[in-house]
């Protein structure tokens, strides 16, 4: 290995490039940098293309950040900075946009409560709000054990109801000089299933998105493997942001990532987009999938129907929670809803945090299909 003091001058650009990448939040380890330099040496380097290939192979940017990586490479080795500046400016405005949208959203919520509901109801809802926080804390604690479980291939030691653990038993037999004491048993472990939350952030869901995001935060914190996406006119994965423990900080970060707040919904196309990315659709496989949306699809619902059918084929249980079902007169009568009703496992009320947490905590318990329930009602 080379030491820092006797590094030749020619290596400084490569060290500098690694530093630049780190500044832009690429994870670059020291061993990767030395690997990069070794690779450049091995390749000649005969041209800039060699250096680029070496950088790609050893510094390993993820495919979704590949363009950004290329731009940094261009700007660093060729001094072509135009692409970078644009990118950063764009990000800044986006953050501003989002925080603005958020304030508006909260204001709208307060207005709504003040204007439409009677004063007694208003007091009740204020108390509700405080209670929601406690509820989410309890939800977070209970979630991991309440999710539906599957049997893992891994085994745990057990004293009853298991299969013979040959390895441990044999050791025991040998150490006990051929005697066969009580045999050891092992059993396949059960692990909670994955949970996938798809949150509608379009304009028609404005009143509920902040509640839903707080719920999603609690879910990501509580469950081992939960994934959260938002969709409106486009699809955004916000699981990473929600991993931050502090709720407000996490929501602020998530808000900055989503750039289709309060717009229209293109539920069918965005869900299809979700399914067409292999690593995303793999989140849905065998998972409890909960969609938080009013499913008010404008125009043709054929795509929505296809997407929901594919989702339900992958998911362990596919549920749609809609705030509209809070109204006792609600029936799944719109064209889109009645088309997707046969593939849904649950169609439930998502108008309050209480209803939602209660429902999600009951996911492990079997229930009649959505179609059966709603047929009975109507």
């Amino acid at each position: 290995m080379m030491r820092a003091e006797n590094l030749p001058r020619a290596t400084t650009p490569f060290l500098g490039f690694a530093r630049l990448l780190r500044r832009h939040a690429f994870a670059v380890a020291p061993e990767q940098v030395s690997g990069f330099m070794q690779a450049v040496t091995l390749l000649g380097p005969r041209s800039m293309a060699d250096i680029r290939e070496a950088a790609l192979a050893t510094l390993a940017p993820t495919p979704d950040r590949r363009d950004e990586f290329e731009a940094h490479f261009q700007s660093y080795f060729y001094g072509n900075t135009s692409a970078m500046v644009e990118g950063e400016a764009d990000e800044e405005t986006r953050i501003k946009d989002d925080s603005g949208a958020n304030d508006e959203q909260i204001a709208a919520e307060q207005q709504e409560e003040g204007g439409e509901l009677s004063s007694a109801m208003e007091q009740l809802s204020a108390r509700e709000f405080r209670r929601d926080n406690d509820r989410l804390t309890a939800f977070r604690r209970k979630l991991a054990s309440a999710l539906p479980a599957r049997r893992s291939f891994r085994t745990v030691r057990t004293h009853s109801r298991g299969k013979l653990d040959l390895r441990r038993s044999l050791r025991e037999i040998v150490s006990a000089d051929g005697d066969v004491p009580a045999p050891f048993l092992r059993r396949r472990r059960t692990v909670p299933r994955k949970m996938l939350l798809l949150i509608d952030v379009s304009g028609s869901m404005k009143l509920h998105t902040s509640d839903y995001l707080r719920l999603a935060h609690a879910a990501v914190q509580g469950a081992d493997r939960a994934e959260v996406f938002t969709f409106g006119t486009r699809l955004t994965r916000i699981t990473g942001a929600l991993r931050i423990r502090d709720c407000n900080q996490a929501l602020a970060r998530a808000a900055a990532q989503v750039d289709d707040w309060d717009g229209g919904t293109r539920m069918g196309p965005t869900l299809l987009a979700f399914l067409s990315v292999p690593r995303f659709s793999a989140f849905a496989r065998g998972a409890a999938v909960v969609i938080l949306s009013d499913a008010l699809e404008r125009g043709d619902h054929a795509e929505l129907q296809t997407a929901m059918r594919r989702l339900s084929a992958r998911a362990y249980r596919l549920s749609l929670a809609t705030p509209l079902a809070g109204d006792p007169r609600f029936r799944p009568a719109t064209a889109a809803l009645s088309a997707i009703l046969p593939v849904l496992d649950d169609l439930v009320d998502g108008s309050s945090v209480k209803n939602l947490t209660d429902f999600i905590l009951s996911l492990a318990r079997p229930a009649p299909t959505a179609e059966a329930i709603w047929k009975r009602v109507s």
Partner: protein
């Protein structure tokens, strides 16, 4: 560090590409460079890409290039040490104990040890290449185990002590990217993202792989497949499917179907999803005709 034989077969990226072509695998410049670097730096090679772009085939070709045997470890959810490293043959151990009677017997002898892929490669690093296939399907625990193996190339068996590799084995990992791999694992590897080849290269691959397909057919298939992949399908066709399609259409054509018709009738080997089929069916005629033109 690296062995003389490996150095000779990987003298430069171009030499690697040439030798891969000799074992019927066409690698683009970037992939050849990554393979060259992995062999010469003695690091594992991590190949990622959509299903059907030839990740596993690349591993087979690398093994052939080095003249070594390929040991494949297929990952799945719940794979554990007993499937990847080693296991004791308990039945034989018990029988041996009974058979030995009063005599002393070492039940942790080699003949009771079942070597699984990782141990097999460790035992003969100069003769074998390890392929850890679809590592994204395994769980995080297994990834951690693999990480330990890849950093030290050693396995500890409590009853036997530590087994070390005498030379650095060549390891290839593939992933469909259904989930993010641990950063630590990516960091240790030489990385390459395989994309679908462009039409020209795909036609070459089809010519090379398919039994006897005319060049015109190969070009038409490559062009049609490119255009089909651009559509939002649930399962875009991979390279292997394209090769099959060219084969199937050729057979049908020899059986008496005229050209565009043969392509349409053989579509079942290219697209294997009922919904995708019904989506593409109305446009298929036009796609094929454009590709043939």
């Amino acid at each position: 560090m690296s062995k003389p034989s490996a150095e000779i077969s990987a003298a430069s990226p171009e030499a690697v590409a040439e030798r891969l072509a000799a074992s019927r695998y066409l690698a683009d410049e970037s992939l050849a460079t990554a393979i060259f670097l992995a062999i010469r730096l003695g690091k594992p090679l991590l190949l990622e890409g959509a299903p059907g772009v030839g990740k596993t085939e690349a591993a087979k070709a690398i093994a052939e290039l080095l003249g070594r045997e390929l040991v494949r470890l297929q990952c799945y959810e719940g794979i554990d040490a007993a499937h990847a490293l080693y296991e004791w043959n308990y039945q034989r151990q018990l029988l041996a104990i009974r058979h030995a009677g009063e005599h002393e017997i070492d039940i942790y002898d080699d003949r009771f040890l079942i070597a699984r892929p990782l141990l097999q490669v460790l035992n003969a690093p100069e003769e074998r290449v390890l392929l850890v296939d679809e590592i994204d399907r395994s769980d995080h625990e297994f990834e951690a185990l693999l990480l330990e193996f890849l950093s030290d190339f050693q396995i500890s068996i409590p009853e036997r002590g530590t087994i070390r590799a005498t030379a650095q084995p060549i390891v290839i990992l593939t992933s469909n990217r259904t989930r993010e791999l641990a950063e630590a694992l990516r960091r240790r590897c030489v990385y390459h993202w395989i994309t679908y080849p462009d039409a020209g290269r795909e036609a070459e691959i089809i010519m090379l792989r398919a039994g006897d397909v005319a060049e015109v057919t190969a070009r038409a298939v490559a062009a049609a497949v490119q255009s089909i992949r651009a559509r939002p399908l649930a399962k875009p066709p991979g390279i292997a499917e394209a090769v099959e399609w060219a084969n199937a259409a050729t057979i049908l054509e020899k059986g008496g179907s005229p050209w565009p018709e043969a392509f349409r009738r053989a579509i079942g080997v290219l697209i294997k999803d009922e919904e995708d089929l019904s989506y593409i069916a109305p446009e298929l005629g036009r796609i094929v005709e454009e590709a043939l033109a």
